[in-house]
Subunit: 243 residues, 2 copies
């Protein structure tokens, strides 16, 4: 068995107490001196431990005041094809999913994105889910899936990653997602999902996901809470941006 | 002189009355029959006129009710390098700029974007502007410009496009913009700029713009009103996304 370095073991331990809620957002984590005394390590190791926790994004250092647990915040890179599951895992959270509704919609679905009309002829399969980072509700999503491309979809586990299902079960390669971001408010009705009392601003993300030669595999209309999410995008000169 | 087609002349005329405010958002534009009578054109031409206005994004057709002037809305493609000026022109608006402040900041500027610290050593040049589409205030921007890359910048016209200035006056090629979008509220203080009384959600855009070999040319911290802007992003598989 490979030996796990001491600093790594201790930083993982402190991160665990943040994740399970023993250390809450805004609380101070042990200082360098406290770590030295409590874990009987050198000051180099203590410094490495705090650095590790900070690099992983769990805490912020405030000069002259100490190191504090950050509020859960997730960066989402919107010019990569990246599912919620993978996004949460990379941010160090356990993704969880609550299925709210799943059923066939005979009329199909359509939306205008970026000045163009996208439509899916019915029947499509509609999945409505609430998605969590550890125990924090992060986003509510509604996805409309082409039944012609995903037959028997109703037999799958809808609490898992749909992207994984498309690729592994149906062999579809995602080729592009056209997304439109707008702002909205999370108020009374949506607030219940998110366990939020006072209205907060949020992102609305509408999208069309393509596979193969420009076939619409799914369309989405989701709400990402604005107090937890930041979207990052790289812009490049037009020529390098072409696919 | 080339002859302008009739349908084009008339659709431009109707668009003008939307732009100058004679036809306001939510108002009905003339129906096919009204256009036939008023302009003495065929029903094919009348249909083409309405189609033209709709395609240009000025109106929405509501089945069985008529065609209505849309609220000014701008799509901004965030994975292209695209300045406000060009973005507005492409959307059919006249870009206007009000300079709020322009001065040297000796301390420099820095921000954490997408988990990385970006900083510009001082002095930098700070430009604070309010930017309009026709007469509608669309966004408030603060930009910090590297004086080492743009000497004598204080002599330029700050109501024009900075991107044009970088390229044409200084010969800088923009190579990449790292942007982070978050949500915020436009309330009392900012509301005055935008002429808005009730709070509305908005996008906050923070970015670092690079030229040449990874040099920071400018950093930005701007507020785009959420009732007017939608941001569009294409996501591609990782390999085609690399620059």
């Amino acid at each position: 068995m490979q030996k796990v370095p001491k600093y790594y073991k201790i930083s993982t331990e402190i991160i665990s107490s943040i994740r399970d809620g023993a250390l809450k957002p805004g609380m101070r984590v042990p200082s360098e001196n406290e770590i030295i005394k409590e874990y009987k390590v050198s000051n180099t190791t203590a410094r490495k431990i705090l650095q590790q926790i900070e690099n992983a994004g769990w805490v912020t250092r405030v000069k002259g005041k100490g190191t504090f647990v950050r509020r859960a915040n997730v960066e989402r890179s919107v010019n990569k094809i990246l599912g919620f599951t993978q996004n949460m895992q990379e941010a160090g959270y356990q993704p969880r999913t609550k299925l709210l509704d799943a059923r066939e919609v005979f009329e199909g679905y359509g939306a205008r994105l970026n000045g163009r009309e996208y439509s899916m002829t019915g029947p499509v399969f509609k999945i409505h889910r609430l998605r969590f980072a550890d125990s924090i509700p992060m986003m509510v999503e509604v996805r409309y899936i082409a039944l012609s491309l995903c037959p028997d979809i109703k037999d799958f586990d809808f609490t898992a990653s749909l992207y994984d299902m498309y690729e592994q079960e149906y062999g579809h390669q995602l080729t592009e997602i056209n997304q439109v971001l707008s702002t909205t408010m999370i108020d009374s009705a949506l607030g219940n999902f998110f366990d939020i009392r006072d209205p907060i601003p949020a992102f609305r993300v509408e999208s069309a996901t393509f596979c193969g030669k420009g076939m619409i595999l799914e369309m989405e209309d989701s709400i990402y809470r604005g107090d937890k999410y930041r979207f990052s995008v790289r812009a490049l000169p037009e020529r390098s941006n072409a696919s």
